[in-house]
Every structure is written in C-alpha cells, then in structure tokens.
C-alpha cells in the first residue's frame, strides 16, 4: 500500500495515518479534536466514555478503539453527534454527585470542561444522588467514589505505567464501582503513592491529592485559561514529544 493511500477524511479534511493507528490518534496528530474523557495518550484505549463516537459511512464507532483504514469518510463535528455527546455528558453528571460549586476539582475538571465545550447549560436528567463510599484512609490521597465516571484511566495508569494494579472496576451496570486492590480494600493498605500516574490522572474529582484543593486561584486553573479541546490536543503533542 502506498503512503499516499493511508488517509482518512474527517469532516471532509484528509488526514494521514500509520498502520495500526486509531482514528483518535490520527485525528489528534493532525490537530483534529474528537471529544473524549477516557482516552489518554500512551495508555491503551478502553472505549468507556463513548464521547468519541463518530460516524464512519453509515455506522457509528468509538474513535479511540477503531483503527483508521484507508478511505474512511468520518463525520465528527456535527450537530447530531455533539447533541448526543452533550446528553452523554449530562448522564455522567447525574450518575455521580457532580456538584461543581462544592467540588475542589472545579476549574481543573475534564467533565466540567466538556460540559462547557458542548454547551451544556443544565443537567437535564434527574440526579441519582447515589451514595458511594469515600476512602480517606490514605495519608495523602483521597478517593471519592461519588464522583467516579468509571473512565478506567486510573486502572490503566496503575497497571500499565505504575506497574501496581491498585484499581479495578467491579460490579455491572449501575452497580459498577471502583475497587482498591489491597487486603482491606482501603487505599491506605495499597501500594499507591502520590507520584503514581494513577494519583493524578483522574479527569474528575474522584482521586485527589489531599489538602491541595483550591490552592490554584480562580483565573489560573486549567480550564479558566484553556478549553478541553486545547488540552486534548496538547496532551497528545506532549506525549509525542516525549516519545521522540
């Protein structure tokens, strides 16, 4: 196959890809943003959040777990897809206790930033108001499961990068929840450390370094200054730079 044939089109724009590359990676490399929450450069994809679903011809697929193939004609930034993404984001909000005014992740939260990016003005769906256990046993790390969106990023980061396997998702459907791999099930009895990628990768306020909340003033937080699109593209570029 000739190199010139290894292209896909996203919203009419021709984009190159390399063999084995996902649509998400090819798009980000070409600075085309496909909304996502559970994708992180360098970690294996999981297809959990479904925000990156795009239309390929007459079918839908999650861009983070679908390999790019020559000639694919992909629709990404359409009003229909963005409406569906907004509804998915609203569902993520109401499934957990995402009360932005009283959450220390506000301004640095990818879920909140995604809501802004997609023009989400209200929750639309009724809140579940679920009660999930908060684990503050670790001296330096807080685990607030009520904010977990089950993106699986901490699971993959701990396994693939930290080499620790601290986290897993247990249960199914609405019973799915984050568990800790330790004799007591408590974070304090795991091998988790603040220097682990899993300690800082959480896109929402579920895993936090203790006593750091609100230290960055309003106006200087990540999403005070950037959109989630900027950060999505930047994370990819940074990873590519590191690989060089």
């Amino acid at each position: 196959m000739q190199a010139s044939q290894n292209t896909i089109t996203i919203d009419g724009r021709e984009i190159p890809f390399t063999a084995g590359q996902t649509i998400m990676d090819a798009a980000l490399a070409a600075e085309v943003y496909i909304p996502h929450l559970c994708h992180y450069p360098g970690l294996p994809p999981s297809g959990n959040c479904r925000l990156c679903v795009v239309e390929i011809g007459n079918r839908s697929a999650a861009a983070c777990i679908t390999q790019a193939a020559a000639g694919q004609e992909i629709r990404n930034n359409t009003s229909e897809l963005n409406a569906a993404r907004k509804a998915l984001t609203q569902m993520l909000f109401v499934e957990g206790n995402h009360i932005c005014p009283s959450c220390e992740k506000t301004g640095n939260c990818k879920l909140q930033a995604m809501g802004y990016y997609l023009g989400m003005l209200e929750d639309h769906f009724p809140y579940f108001y679920q009660r999930r256990e908060t684990d503050a046993s670790h001296p330096d790390i807080l685990l607030d499961r009520s904010r977990c969106i089950l993106c699986d990023l901490c699971v993959r980061a701990s396994r693939e990068v930290d080499g620790k396997n601290v986290f897993a998702i247990a249960g199914r459907g609405t019973e799915a929840h984050l568990i800790v791999n330790s004799p007591t099930g408590k974070l304090a009895d795991s091998t988790m450390e603040t220097t682990d990628l899993a300690a800082t990768i959480c896109p929402v306020g579920a895993i936090l370094i203790k006593e750091q909340g609100y230290r960055v003033p309003i106006g200087q937080r990540i999403y005070d200054q950037h959109t989630i699109r900027d950060i999505g593209l930047q994370e990819h570029a940074t990873k590519k730079q590191e690989e060089k």
Partner: protein
C-alpha cells in the same frame, strides 16, 4: 416577653403574614391575638431547612470554607472566612503570615461594605425615602432610582466597590476562593491595588453621605425611636482594647443597661456562654446567653450591638460618628431598632477608611501568604463578625480529615428572639384589633428588615413576592384573609 413553646395558646386568634417581602428567603409572621384582640405573641417562622451542618459530614475539611459559603449570596465571604479560621485550627496552623491576615481583613471589609450598602440602599431605603405605608409599586430600589437617582446610584456604586475588592482577592464577586488552610491562595497584585485606590476617595465620600442620610433619618423622626424598639442584651466581638473589630477578637456581652456580662471571652469556649433552644414552630433555633437563661438570655447582634458594645473605632471619621451616636443615646446604649441602619452606615464608613489604610500598606501585595501546616487537630472553631452579626463555625474531624460534626450559629439565628420581640412591638402598636392593611403589614417587614434582609439565601425579585395575611380565631377558622399578589394587587377573601 417569655418565649412560649406551645403550638398555640388557648383562646387566641391567629394573623399569618406569609411570606415577608424584600427579605431574601421566605418569612412568615403569625400574630396570636387573645380574646380581647391584644397581641399575645408574635412568631416569625423560618420555614426553610438548609441542612449544611448535616451534609458536610463526611466531606474533607479543606473543602468546608467553599461549601459553607454557599449558605448565602450576600455574605458568602463571612462564611468562607469563619470556616477558614476554623480550618486553620484543624490544619494545626497557629499563626498566619501577616500578609494573609491583612488580605483576609481587606476582603472582609469589602464584604461588609457591599453587604451594608445592599442592606440599606437596595432593601431598606425605599421604606424611609417613601414612607412605611407608601405605594408598594414605588417602594423598591427601582422607585428610589427614579425618584432619588443620586442617592440610589451612590448606593449601587458603594456595593459595586465592595464587590470589586472581593473579586480582586477571590476571583469572583460571589462565591470565589481564597481562604485555604493556613492562609490565602492569591496575592493582591500591584495593578489591582492601584485600580482599587483610584476610586477610594469617592467611596469615602459616598460613605460619609450615606452616614449623614441615616443620621438625619433617625434623628429628625422621633417616631423612629420607638418603632420596633426593644431593650436587649448585646453580643459582639471586640478587639483587645475594646475597639470595633470584625475579623478577630474576644467576645463581649452587655446587659441592656450597659453593664458587662462578660468581656474578652475566648470564642473557642462559646459553648460555655451560649445555648440554643429549639421551638416546635420554627426551623431556626433560639440562642441565649446561658448565664441569663432562656427567659432573659436573648440578645442582639449586628451593627447596633457592635457600635453599642465597642469602646472606640480605630478610624477617625467612623469614631467621630460613633461619638455622635453615643451622644444621641445620652451615653447609654441605643436600643432603637431602626438605629441598626445608622450603626450600619457608621460601620460602612469604617470599612471605607480601613480599606484605604490597608491598600496603602506595602505588605498588602506580599506573596508570602501560606503558613506551614502543623499536626491535624480534631476540632476547629472560627468566629467572625459578619455584616449582620457574630457568626460561629465549629467543626470536628476524624483522623482522616473528614468532617464528623458541625455546628453553625449564624447571625440571623442570634437575632431570632429579638426579631420576634420587635415584630410583637410593632403589632402591638399598629395591629391591635384593627383591620389588616398593606401598610400595616409592611411595618412588620420594616422591623424585620432592620435586622436582616436574608433569612435564607433564596433570591427573589424585589417586591414581587406575594403577601398573605390570614386572621384566624382560636378554632382555626379563617375570619379574614388579605393577599397581595405579584403585581401588588390586593385581594380580600371573606
């Protein structure tokens, strides 16, 4: 009057005013008449349930200042700072960097200035400028803007300036961030300071004019002296030398005759001097000074209490105003409920002067704003003088840093019994056996508004809340009912 916990005394009729307007949140007044049509008791019901003390349980302690500030949209900074002081204790911090304390004080002066401006100009001035019984369609801030544009605009600008200080320090005019364990999260920049200093002369002038207006209102209307007036005990914080103090000091309480009940009491022991009584007809508790008991221990807090209680004010213009206030009271305490507004404007002037002084302090732009944390402590208590009075925040945490217990005594709660007493006083004077009129109803609201425009944090359009009055006999039968609708239309149901 002795508090009564009975649901309804025998042989009484009930007049209910629900809700009270131009007070943020819902208030409902029930007047209990005896068989001779005399007011037997007044009950200001607080019907909202907030639940903050319960739902912050299980939250990490460093989140608390920013959760509990949501209690209020008018004085969130006071809640943030009271909680912040408690959180400093929880984090084992004994001493903040000097610049952090100065920044918190500046923030709080901005808060009190904007809140006092809102309280008087936006919510209470219509009553005084148009008269208590005037047309309600005109008696609001929009009416003031139309009829007295110069006064209204200066009030609006005063509030705006206070909010600009808050925004510069916390990032937002309402519900920003700032007080983190051991200090503040952002310095005041040189540019921000210059911008605020540029307007301070105007702010001082407007504060002086606001004070002059209130002095005149109170001193030239002899009927204001008696309106809703109730001699009472007073509680407030004062500085080490007995001076007016909003941020940190000891507690002082006085009898109505001016003698001290206690002075320079360490607020961390507040449970030794204060108790809270629960009554079945209100969600709001009734605090009292434990030394005096439930019958005689109720007290007033807020501007009137602070100006009555303090021995001096550290800024010259406000101190001169305090001297005039004291002379008006013939060197005794001033118990006039409507003098709350006068005292409020003395404090607003003190805020303006203090802001001017702090902005000129070279240390105010320092970036040394956070102290080293110490060992986690199981308990933290923060007390501050909020715009409407002494505010208590008390938290306990477990060894993991999660809140296990919280107790908040907000200013309005402290004034609860006093508001009931003032309402009864006004009702006694104006409603005894008379036909209910809109003007009479508003007089009751004027009494409540002197203490507090925010019985909760609900926000409503000014003058748009419907007002209902029902007159019931001892058997609960409605014998008269008056309703003021959203467009000020009056309905009477027979």
């Amino acid at each position: 009057m002795e508090p009564d916990n009975n649901p309804l005394p025998p042989a009484t009729r009930r007049i209910a005013i629900d809700p009270v307007t131009r007070i943020e949140g819902h208030g409902k007044i029930t007047l209990l008449l005896d068989a001779d049509n005399h007011i037997q008791e007044a009950r200001l019901h607080i019907v909202e349930f907030r639940g903050f003390e319960k739902f912050i349980q299980g939250r990490p302690y460093w989140d608390v200042p920013f959760i509990v500030q949501r209690l209020c949209g008018i004085c969130p900074v006071s809640h943030q700072l009271a909680a912040g002081k408690a959180v400093d204790q929880l984090a084992g911090v004994r001493q903040l960097p000097p610049a952090a304390t100065k920044l918190r004080r500046l923030l709080h002066f901005g808060q009190i200035l904007q809140s006092h401006a809102l309280h008087f100009f936006h919510l209470s001035s219509p009553d005084f400028l148009f008269g208590f019984g005037s047309d309600p369609a005109q008696r609001n801030i929009a009416g003031v803007l139309k009829q007295y544009p110069e006064i209204a605009l200066k009030g609006v600008k005063l509030r705006k300036y206070g909010q600009q200080i808050i925004a510069a320090i916390t990032g937002k005019r309402i519900h920003g961030t700032g007080a983190i364990p051991g200090g503040m999260n952002k310095p005041l920049t040189v540019l921000e300071r210059a911008s605020l200093l540029a307007d301070i002369s105007d702010v001082l002038q407007w504060s002086l004019e606001a004070l002059a207006l209130n002095e005149e209102i109170h001193t030239v209307h002899p009927e204001h002296r008696d309106f809703a007036t109730v001699p009472s005990n007073y509680l407030s914080m004062t500085g080490a030398n007995g001076e007016l103090e909003f941020y940190h000091g000891g507690l002082r309480a006085r009898h109505a005759d001016g003698t001290h009940i206690f002075d320079q009491f360490d607020y961390c022991g507040y449970q030794q001097i204060l108790r809270e009584e629960v009554r079945p007809w209100s969600y709001m508790k009734f605090p009292y000074l434990s030394a005096l008991g439930t019958k005689h221990g109720w007290y007033r807090v807020g501007p009137l209490a602070r100006i009555n209680n303090c021995d001096a004010i550290s800024t010259p213009l406000a101190e001169a105003a305090r001297q005039r206030f004291k002379a008006f009271g013939q060197d005794g305490l001033v118990h006039d409920t409507l003098a709350y507004h006068w005292a409020r404007m003395i404090e607003a002037l003190h805020c303006a002067e203090s802001i001017h002084k702090l902005l000129q302090d070279p240390e105010i732009t320092s970036t040394q704003l956070v102290a080293e944390k110490g060992e986690l402590q199981p308990e933290g208590i923060g007390v501050i003088e909020a715009p409407r009075g002494t505010l208590f925040h008390h938290y306990q945490i477990n060894e993991e840093g999660l809140i296990t217990r919280a107790n908040l005594i907000v200013s309005t709660t402290s004034n609860n019994q006093a508001m009931n007493e003032s309402v009864r006083s006004v009702a006694d004077q104006y409603l005894d056996g008379q036909e209910i009129t809109e003007a009479l109803l508003n007089r009751l609201e004027v009494a409540v508004r002197a203490y507090d425009p925010c019985l909760s944090c609900a926000t409503h359009a000014l003058g748009k809340m419907p007002l209902q009055v029902a007159l019931q006999d001892a058997n609960g039968t409605v014998i008269d009912q008056l309703t003021r609708g959203i467009n000020n239309e009056i309905y009477r149901y027979q």
